[in-house]
Symmetry: C2
Subunit: 378 residues, 2 copies
């Protein structure tokens, strides 16, 4: 690799949107990019080969889950997460913060960290910035995340407290980090409050992480509020570092996020919908494939899709698999849903490089409006 | 294809073992061959691409299940089973007989056919030779099976009755069959009784099917009884037609069956064991991968295996997937287990072609005995 790790080169811009290359020890991320989530070191129902076939470049894994099982020390002993899950491309691990706040029981937060009970066996656990970094260093992902606190976005007093702790924890993460082959990203918090988001983005920007994330979005706020915050944060975060919008999203979120300066996305939605028998289309439609209307439907899930599933299997076959409780249904739907988002991000990248992202986005929202998908907020 | 469909060419023999080619409208079966079972038009947890990668040539599907759901007429309407499940190689469908006798409720048998209740919705269903052939013609497999009755192998009176019906039904199947692009195989029954098996093999041989199956084995009898019956039937069935041993087996069953003249095998065991967290090895060992001893085990499931799973994943990772209830565990174990049997059949074929199957079989049983696998019958 000619470029040192964690260099971010912007190849083209259009308004706020950017196409870039982020260099990691396990390969180059061509941005904008959508990353599948492999919570427990497995993108549910798919092999690494199947992920490669749908042009996956970055895979996420969850610190909270892997710390609880099988344990980060075991993964380190077995050669690290890349070797363990057989993913030779870039990996990103989250900090565990979000899961502590969404999954764990009997949570007690203090300024030093969080004590909680495991959602698996009820055992008492402790996570703090130092522990989160230590776990993430054992796992060995290319991109690791600062330990943060994600609050109810509307509870102003709590949002402020969580933001202040997030800032202090970000500094402690920077201090204890030891590995030079991992990029630590900071996380902006601040709920839906513009003054907090401004303050948080400035604080995180000042810490000069090699990349920055926007947390605490897609957790209950409106799309309009999310867009306002993205526009605000986009003006504050350094242009020459990648921006990662955590836990987002849908096809329309990708177009909206990229047009507001976002480079990296991840979300469990495509694989979760797949396990709930639902196909996503490029323009954001959702097909519940179990519906009786698909019983004799010889069409693919999405006529315009060139994924393995759509090239070879009918809606009728996938519906049959679902009703027959065949695992292959989740696999075929996951391939299609992930391909839809990965391919959309890639096509947007090409449109930015070609200088016609405006047209791309206009056409995207035009088709959505013809499909009546933008009524009522989706 | 130069050879007309359903020609069977024997390329080499060694004692009773044969290596051959069976020509079907969807490609050549190189025998001996092991066929994965796709009960509901899906080999559980695997895509057709994954089946191709482990050198699958023949896939089984079940008439009983597909008739109940999604219905053979729907599959016909959608272009037949090959198109429906996207398997472009040869397919074999069973007659539905075995499932009627093992799965269905409130079964009533008369000389004309069987009335039963669906195990899915309790609806009253009827199968007879004519209906079974009609369903199998709608499905459109390359090899279809005569409708037979599989009895308790030790109940002499019932075995005789079932055999007599099986013979009458075989003739009716031949009479109503219309498609020339499907090979109808007859089935020898007769339980563990040598006189019945002799009579049944002679009767079925006289009907001049393009291939013959041995049914009613691996249903509770001892290995030694199975071997005696195979040797007897082998002497009666025509040499120039393929022989299919239904619902068998294990690695040792393959070696034992091939040395007694069998060409085609199928069994749900590899995929069923996979869903029960168990890996099969080439010599018949079974690893329950969830066992604590594999927690930190960096070895592949089987050191000598070159399948995708064994080339890339550790026992520790697969154990973690099982405990985390990740679907990928069943996929990786199914790939390995099926590859083990398909590859074993293929290696036996090569040894017959090379004239050293004797050595191959001796070495196989020598290693099993060193592994102490032949104590107590397995």
């Amino acid at each position: 690799m000619i470029n040192p790790p964690f260099t971010f080169k912007i190849e083209a811009r259009q308004d706020r949107a950017r196409a870039g290359k982020f260099y990691t020890p396990h390969g180059v991320l061509n941005t904008p990019v959508f990353a599948p989530v492999g919570t427990q070191a497995s993108v549910k129902s798919l092999t690494p080969d199947q992920l490669t076939n749908i042009n996956t470049s970055l895979v996420l894994a969850n610190t909270y889950h892997l710390h609880l099982h099988p344990g980060d020390e075991l993964i380190k002993e077995l050669g690290g997460l890349h070797r363990f899950m057989y993913w030779s491309g870039p990996i990103l691990t989250d900090s565990g913060g979000f899961q502590v706040f969404s999954l764990a029981k009997n949570r007690h937060i203090d300024n030093d960290g969080v004590t909680f009970r495991s959602h698996i066996d009820g055992s008492t656990q402790r996570l703090d910035p130092e522990k989160s970094i230590s776990i993430q260093e054992n796992l060995g992902a290319d991109i690791i995340m600062a330990f943060d606190e994600c609050s109810d976005p509307y509870d102003k007093e709590y949002v402020r407290e969580a933001m202040v702790r997030t800032h202090a924890w970000a500094e402690r993460c920077l201090q204890v980090k030891t590995r030079s082959d991992q990029a630590l990203f900071g996380i902006v918090q601040g709920g839906i409050f513009e003054d907090f988001r401004q303050e948080s983005a400035e604080h995180i920007a000042d810490l000069e992480f090699p990349g920055n994330a926007i947390g605490g979005l897609s957790v209950g706020e409106t799309k309009s509020e999310m867009h306002t915050i993205l526009e605000l944060v986009d003006r504050v975060l350094p242009e020459n570092k990648p921006r990662y919008l955590m836990g987002v999203g849908t096809p329309e979120d990708l177009v909206n996020g990229i047009s507001r300066g976002v480079d990296i996305f991840d979300c469990v939605l495509p694989t979760r919908l797949a396990r709930h028998n639902t196909a996503m289309t490029r323009y954001g439609q959702r097909l519940n494939v179990v519906n009786a209307q698909y019983t004799r439907d010889a069409q693919p899930l999405d006529q315009q899709c060139d994924c393995y599933t759509c090239q070879n299997f009918s809606r009728a076959y996938i519906r049959h698999l679902i009703i027959s409780k065949e695992m292959l249904a989740a696999t075929l739907l996951s391939i299609h849903n992930l391909h839809t988002l990965i391919n959309l991000a890639h096509d947007i990248r090409l449109s930015i490089l070609a200088g016609n992202f405006d047209d791309f986005a206009n056409r995207f929202f035009q088709i959505r409006s013809e499909l009546e998908l933008d009524q009522g907020g989706n």
